[in-house]
Symmetry: C2
Subunit: 180 residues, 2 copies
């Protein structure tokens, strides 16, 4: 059900996805969603965000072991390029859907903030390993997450991968300057 919710959120948004859609997509029995998520859609959204955040986090953690921020950036970009191209630009980031639409201060929004913070920490760690100072690493890691999430939206609006490619190149240049 969480997997279905993630797929639906990233295409139809958080408000655009109902319990009914998740049940239909997952093929789960109707009662089970109320059993597993007694607090309702917000709880499902929080768990979905946590799951989707962890998928990217594992990829980033592997990349971070190399201590190369440009490689970590590449891993992050590649993950989203796949999502965009495989869906013909209909799917974006399920966590952005929740961050953009769920109530401020809800468990779902807090889970989104947490996922972004974990990604940012992993990317910042590769920057520290590459000799970038603490403040610059924090700023640049925030820039990477923000710019890639924003580029995903631009790509979907244009139905074209170029914004992501351009943002990738511009971020590589910024990282190279910070490392040198």
């Amino acid at each position: 059900m969480i997997r279905s919710a993630a797929l639906l959120f990233r295409e139809n948004g958080y408000s655009g996805t109902g319990f009914r859609d998740v049940i239909a997509h997952s093929g789960a029995p109707r009662g089970s969603i109320y059993h597993h998520f007694p607090d309702g859609k917000e709880q499902l959204a929080a768990d979905t965000v946590e799951w989707a955040g962890a998928v990217i986090e594992r990829r980033l953690a592997r990349a971070a072991q190399q201590g190369d921020p440009i490689a970590a950036l590449g891993v992050f970009v590649d993950a989203w390029r796949e999502v965009l191209e495989d869906s013909n630009f209909r799917a974006g980031c399920p966590i952005v859907a929740v961050a953009a639409e769920a109530d401020a201060g809800s468990a779902a929004t807090a889970a989104a903030a947490d996922a972004f913070a974990r990604w940012q920490d992993l990317i910042a760690r590769t920057m520290l390993d590459a000799g970038i100072g603490r403040t610059d690493a924090r700023r640049l890691a925030t820039l990477v997450i923000a710019a890639i999430e924003g580029a995903i939206l631009l790509c979907r609006a244009r139905r074209d991968i170029r914004p992501l490619r351009d943002v990738h190149r511009a971020l590589e240049a910024a990282l190279r300057t910070a490392i040198s």
Copy 2:
């Protein structure tokens, strides 16, 4: 009605805002929304995106006259900081709401792509004026739009202005490197 739709989209998203909500918020007579937007919500969304895009565009056009990309960036950041802080982080960008949720290939999504492209052209123009080459200007202007839109989402999730401030500083550094 367009103004109401923009306010509602940026807080509740595109799917989370119905015609009924726009009628209630604007105080317009019920029939008038069907009169003005016979093609339905997608038409309202397209017109709202065009209107909201033009508001930012006018600010950027004034800033662009100075030919200073760092000043233009500051204008763009300030516009969004106001929206975030005035709404206690409940409101984001109405155009992102549409880009994230409206159907790919719809008039509303096309209007979103058009608004982003107009902002990007204005920012790129200030970069060309400052002596940045054409390819770098295109990439950096895309980076500015993507990163600020992404930072708005991070700020809303965290209910904190710091992601926008960090992204602003990191973008300034990238622009300074490109200019020098």
